[in-house]
């Protein structure tokens, strides 16, 4: 605080609180600090609750970090010592067991996990580090061709056109005004296209170990190349990594994503993961009208009916649903596992996801495909 000598004494604790919040990753602008000070003054303040509410209203911590805000508030103003509850972005990580459907816990986990005492729920909570690797040819191709070849949809905004369904009255009138009110030529409008939403669900369980790093790199390239891409990973948990992948530098983004995901190489409960995804209205909305791409081998350890229901629901919301599995090699792929057979009729494209090149091929071919 000594570096802020001009501040009135009374304002210092509040400005220091803002610094504390910033140090803990809350984005707070100077104008918000000013509003906070004004708000505290307006309210009295008659007690700590006034200060807390003033902070909530003016500093606007996002709702999923409300608990962290409250904890920092207690530490700063009330001298609390709690450092226990590790603040997690709970909104972004959905623990599947809490979203379970009240039935028996499905048998899960890879055999390797079951021996460990910690793996009672089939979770091998580990963090993964990625080594540096240059962009492969496939990823470079994706970055280059994405703007021209990713799927688009008709938007609601209109743009000038040579011919179109609507007359451009504004332009026509302006031209007419120049010609003493004589309409020489009618301007036209048509609907502009926009990039279609894309939803990428990446399986990071043990059986997909060989592919998960490449798939995440691919997701990063796609996130950078297209504007509205949502990316989730699933294994025994469901994790939203969209925000981490918005970081431009590849290694930094992958490290951030790897840090978020805690169920690398564990068991698989695809059905439960997708159910959990659909149960959060905000997440479920990402699938609506989107090109949904699931990168998974479909080796389901849980209940096949849960998987089938979830995929059916997802495919009704999606514009087109693709399931890319490393098991599908060659043209005449016939699914063998029980899970893949169950979901085959809801999936529009069940294709090879065995390498980045084949995944990129499919993504870039989506534009020519129709809604299904």
């Amino acid at each position: 605080m000594s570096d802020q000598p001009d501040l009135p004494r009374a304002a210092r604790p509040f400005v220091a609180f803002v610094s504390l919040l910033r140090a803990n990753g809350f984005a707070i602008a100077p104008e918000q600090t000013i509003a906070f000070l004004a708000a505290v003054e307006l309210l009295g303040p008659r007690g700590p609750e006034d200060i807390r509410l003033a902070g909530l209203a003016t500093l606007a911590p996002p709702p999923e970090r409300r608990a962290a805000y409250d904890m920092l508030f207690r530490i700063h103003f009330l001298g609390g010592e709690e450092v226990s509850g590790s603040e997690a972005d709970d909104d972004e990580v959905v623990r599947l067991q809490e979203e379970g459907r009240g039935e028996d816990e499905p048998p899960l986990a890879d055999d390797s996990n079951e021996s460990g005492a910690m793996a009672t729920r089939g979770e091998a909570l580990v963090e993964r580090r990625f080594g540096p690797a240059g962009a492969s040819d496939a990823l470079r191709r994706l970055a280059r061709d994405a703007p021209a070849r990713l799927p688009r949809r008709r938007g609601h905004r209109r743009m000038r056109a040579r011919r179109g369904p609507w007359a451009d009255l504004r332009r026509t009138l302006r031209e007419a005004a120049r010609n003493d009110g004589e309409v020489m030529r009618l301007g036209w409008l048509k609907r502009r296209t926009r990039p279609r939403k894309m939803l990428l669900l990446i399986d990071v369980s043990g059986s997909m170990k060989a592919r998960s790093e490449d798939n995440l790199r691919l997701a990063h390239t796609l996130s950078q190349a297209a504007p509205n891409v949502e990316v989730f990973t699933f294994g025994t948990r469901l994790t939203r990594v969209t925000r981490a992948l918005r970081i431009k530098r590849t290694e930094q983004a992958l490290a951030a994503a790897a840090h978020l995901v805690s169920d690398w190489d564990g068991g698989t409960r695809i059905g439960d993961a997708l159910q959990a995804f659909l149960a959060v209205p905000r997440f479920g909305g990402y699938a609506r009208g989107a090109a949904v791409v699931i990168l998974s081998d479909g080796l389901e350890r849980g209940d096949v009916s849960a998987l089938r229901d979830a995929v059916a629901k997802l495919s009704r919301r999606a514009w087109r649903m693709s399931w890319l599995t490393p098991l599908a090699t060659g043209k005449g792929f016939v699914p063998q596992t029980e899970a893949l057979i169950a979901i085959r009729r809801f999936v529009d494209d069940m294709l090879d996801g065995g390498s980045s090149a084949t995944v990129v091929d499919h993504l870039l071919s989506l534009r020519n495909r129709r809604a299904a």
């Binding site: 307006l42 209203a57 209205p281």
Partner: protein, 293 residues
């Protein structure tokens, strides 16, 4: 920053809460404080929350408390300046040019201007409340356009010049959080996340909104709705659904249906998704029995 400690006779969050109660809106400390600060600091109020927690109702109640006209701008994808701000009446302009003949005419006069919600608020900031509803439905272009409006409260019409509000208007924005809003937008506003109310407060809301509902019914419905919200449903029932459910069950009961049965038969007004209904159906009896007890 212009700070007005008292607006329309309201000088504290408690006074605002009391006034809102008079307008049939039960506010908790959080929202009363946020709304008071927004009014006092002259900033827009951004309300976020799940569908059906009463965001739009809050804006209506604030307008009623201030005795102002509510101007509602419903957002949708592709909404643009001609729908939010102003538009010229082109056919009329064209007709005027034709009729004017040799005389000169100003086709950008007042009579050719069609006022849209944002312009209407700028012109009468002391007698209106602007509600920009479901901002998350609009696209990023519109959000960027709003930023300019919300920081300076002025707009420019190329043909007529800049129009500035005489005082800072009261603006309420709502969002269902179907997508993340731009940080810059959150920064300019006083923010409040509306959570589902506590059971106690929700029961009072139900009774206030539906006067025919008995207290025991209201409490049972609120308990049942509280349980439903903990289930992984694709659409959890909001406050509006709780009110409807209580009203529907009361109506069925008056028509002769027994109590737990009346709740069960009217579940359709609380859960409106076929799959949610199918999912909850096996346990519905137990859930209602627990709530009624």
């Amino acid at each position: 920053m212009v700070v007005r400690a008292t607006i329309a006779g309201i000088g504290s969050p408690e006074a605002l809460e009391k006034a809102l109660r008079g307008a049939y809106y039960l506010a908790d400390d959080g929202i009363a404080t946020a709304a008071y600060l927004a009014l006092a600091l002259g900033k827009p109020l951004l309300l976020e929350g799940a569908p059906g927690v009463g965001k739009t109702e809050a804006a209506k109640a604030i307008a009623a408390v201030l005795g102002r006209r509510l101007i509602r701008l419903q957002c949708y994808e592709g909404i643009d300046a001609s729908a939010a701000l102003y538009e010229w009446n082109y056919p009329r302009q064209m007709l005027a040019i034709r009729q004017a003949g040799d005389q000169s005419i100003d086709i950008y006069g007042e009579s050719f201007l069609i006022e849209r919600p944002m312009l209407a608020t700028l012109r009468a900031p002391d007698s209106t409340v602007l509600l920009i509803d479901e901002i998350d439905r609009s696209d990023q272009e519109f959000e960027a356009f709003l930023l300019e409006f919300l920081s300076d409260f002025q707009i420019s019409i190329p043909e007529r010049g800049t129009i500035r509000a005489a005082e800072r208007p009261v603006v309420v924005l709502t969002s269902n959080r179907t997508r993340d809003l731009h940080e810059a937008l959150r920064r300019r506003c006083v923010y409040h996340w509306i959570d589902y109310p506590t059971a106690e407060r929700e029961a009072r809301i139900v009774m206030m909104r539906a006067s025919s509902v008995a207290e025991a019914t209201a409490r049972a419905v609120v308990a049942a709705v509280g349980k439903l919200r903990r289930e992984p449903l694709s659409k959890s029932p909001g406050i509006a659904e709780a009110v409807d459910w209580a009203e529907a069950a009361t109506l069925l009961n008056k028509g002769g249906a027994r109590w737990p049965d009346a709740f069960k038969r009217s579940i359709g007004v609380a859960l409106k998704d076929e799959e949610d209904l199918a999912f909850i159906a096996p346990r519905l009896d137990a859930l209602i029995a627990e709530a009624v007890a």
